[in-house]
Amino acid sequence: MNFPAELKYSKSHEWVSMDGDVAVIGISDFAQDALGDVVFINLPEVGDDVAAGDPFGDIESVKAVSDLISPVSGTVCAVNEDLLDAPELVNQDPYEAWIIKVENISDEEEMLDAAAYEAFCAEEAE
């Protein structure tokens, strides 16, 4: 399982990377593996406000659905529309397949670094 060191992670298994003032958000390798084959992602719209700790969309596998939780508060400035046609990108490369980008960030959840997140996942897998 892959935990890139340059990213931050939430306990609800989203990753965040900062691109200037913009937060790029996706789900972790651990999350995509637990979900199995992703079949659809319900995305928010550009301009929607998101709040740290609240769902901004959800992600479906054949027989399950999970909320996508935003690790930051702000305004959605981009959504990855490629995922509408090819949700499998999330399984193939979860760190390339970003889901949303958020700007005007006003707040953020406490996040883990790669090592702490890896330990957290190991615990969850127990």
Partner: protein, 468 residues
């Protein structure tokens, strides 16, 4: 198999209506269809053979054992079909004058009376078309009751985590917030967890009893008392009534309103996923809130669909009730419970029951340790059963048991069928240790192999189109 459309031949047709004996009326151009719908063009024999071929790839209750937990796949008597096909019922317009529909009214009144007696309720409607629709109707009674009393703070419906998904979905459709409570280790309501969430904001509790793990909650009187004390009402999900009909009544357990799935407990056919029919019953104080049809009865009551419900399904259920009668109703329940316990006993020693105790009409196997040992999942076992001509049990439900297989044999299976089924389970248990790979790839003798469900949902193809 070919699709209807692939059997279509341009210009082929049957003369079903004959020529028109009056002059055609002109449809103004702006309302006219541009192109005819591309329906198949077939002769009657094409239609007949097509559907005969399809029907051969369906497993019904008449084909063999169908222990699909929580669905009560009991035998559907043919006389019920004959009665529902009588022209004196099928040919009746729902808005015909009252004096012309006395027989229909008698069917509804008689069925309502019998079901009130079986459930301990005072009023009954047949308007809802299915179980989930009945839940909606029943919870709407609770909503109206609190609103009429001006008790507007009651916004929460309590649902145990073992509940059917329809319960929480229904509560939300009725504008309530769902409070999930964890089950106790024995699969029943955790009284402390219940007490912790009860309060001035409690609208009601939705409960299935026997519950979804097949256990009758022995604290039921305490549970309903606590909810009532908090000012809430108790809703009985009748999905599992087959275990207790004629034995114990939801009304006596303290429930205020209930729904009954006529297509489960009262033997009307499931039809490949409907039409069902649902009876929603309530105590006297809720009767004023029952739904009615605006066209049939007027008034400003709630209404959950057109007219008075799936009437012809009620005819079937009444025929069944009349056949069983006073003795037959509890006899069916007792044998449903006996069959479930007997089957569980015969499987024991191989697959492990999630709760090793006397069950009601169904029981749940927990295959999580088996999966750890063999790698064979509940899904693999389910698919392997298909090769033995047996419909798989309900899989992965209830959510509180991992690798769950839920079996409900019903009373209409004989001891021989149960013995044979148990032998198959024991055999598969062994096979999992010997040849797990074989089971991962099951079924081997079905018309198709395992379908690619991922593709079906990622790139949905939901209709046929002529190839360009």
């Amino acid at each position: 198999m070919k699709l209807l459309f692939e059997r279509s031949v341009s210009g082929r047709r049957s003369d079903l209506l004959g020529s028109c004996d009056v002059e055609y009326a002109a449809l103004p151009e702006e309302f006219a269809r541009k192109n005819p719908p591309a329906l198949p063009e077939m002769s009657e024999v094409d239609v007949s053979r097509h559907y005969t071929e399809l029907n051969q790839q369906v497993h019904g209750v008449n084909s063999g054992f169908y222990p699909l937990g929580s669905c009560t796949m009991k035998y559907n008597p043919r006389v019920d079909e004959d009665m529902a096909a009588l022209q004196g019922f099928t040919g009746i317009h729902p808005l015909a004058p009252k004096d012309a529909v006395q027989g229909c009214q008698e069917v509804l009144d008689t069925a309502a009376g019998y079901l009130c007696e079986i459930t301990g309720m005072d009023g009954m409607t047949f308007q809802p078309a299915a179980g989930a629709h009945g839940e909606f109707t029943g919870v709407m009674l609770i909503k109206q009751y609190h609103e009429k009393r001006g008790d507007s703070a009651r916004k929460k419906i309590i649902v145990p985590d073992s509940a059917h998904g329809t319960n929480p979905a229904t509560a939300v459709m009725c504008g309530f917030e769902v409070v999930n409570i964890p089950s106790a280790p024995n699969g029943c309501i955790d009284l402390e967890a219940l007490q912790a969430v009860l309060g001035d904001d409690t609208a009601g509790l939705m409960l299935t009893n026997p519950n979804t793990v097949g256990i009758f909650d022995e604290n039921i009187l305490e549970i309903t008392r606590l909810v009532h004390e908090a000012g809430g009402l108790c809703y009985y999900d009748g999905a599992n009534l087959n275990a207790v009909m004629g034995i114990v009544r939801p009304g006596d357990m303290g429930f205020d309103c209930i729904h009954l799935n006529l297509h489960k407990t009262f033997a009307t056919p499931h039809g490949g996923g409907g039409p069902g029919a649902c009876a929603v019953g309530c105590k006297e104080f809720l009767k004023e809130f029952l739904p009615h049809s605006a066209l049939m009865e007027g008034g400003d009551s709630i209404q959950v669909r057109s007219f008075s419900g799936n009437f012809l399904v009620v005819v079937r259920a009444l025929t069944y009730l009349l056949t069983l009668g006073r003795e037959g109703v509890p006899e069916a329940a007792r044998n449903a419970v006996l069959n479930a316990n007997y089957l569980m006993e015969q499987i024991k020693g191989t697959f492990v029951p999630a709760f090793d105790r006397v069950c009601m009409h169904e029981f749940v196997l927990d295959l999580s340790s088996y999966k750890k040992e063999t790698g064979v999942s509940a899904l693999d076992v389910a698919k392997s059963l298909i090769d033995y001509g047996m419909h798989p049990p309900t899989m992965y439900f209830p959510l509180i048991v991992h690798e769950a297989l839920m079996l409900e044999p019903t009373e209409t299976e004989s001891k021989e069928t149960l013995d044979e089924a148990a032998a198959v389970f024991r055999k598969l248990y062994e096979l999992g240790f010997r040849d797990p790979e074989f089971m991962h790839n099951a079924p081997h003798n079905a018309p198709i192999g395992r379908p690619d469900e991922v593709q079906a949902s990622r790139k949905p193809v939901l209709r046929w189109k002529k190839e360009q």
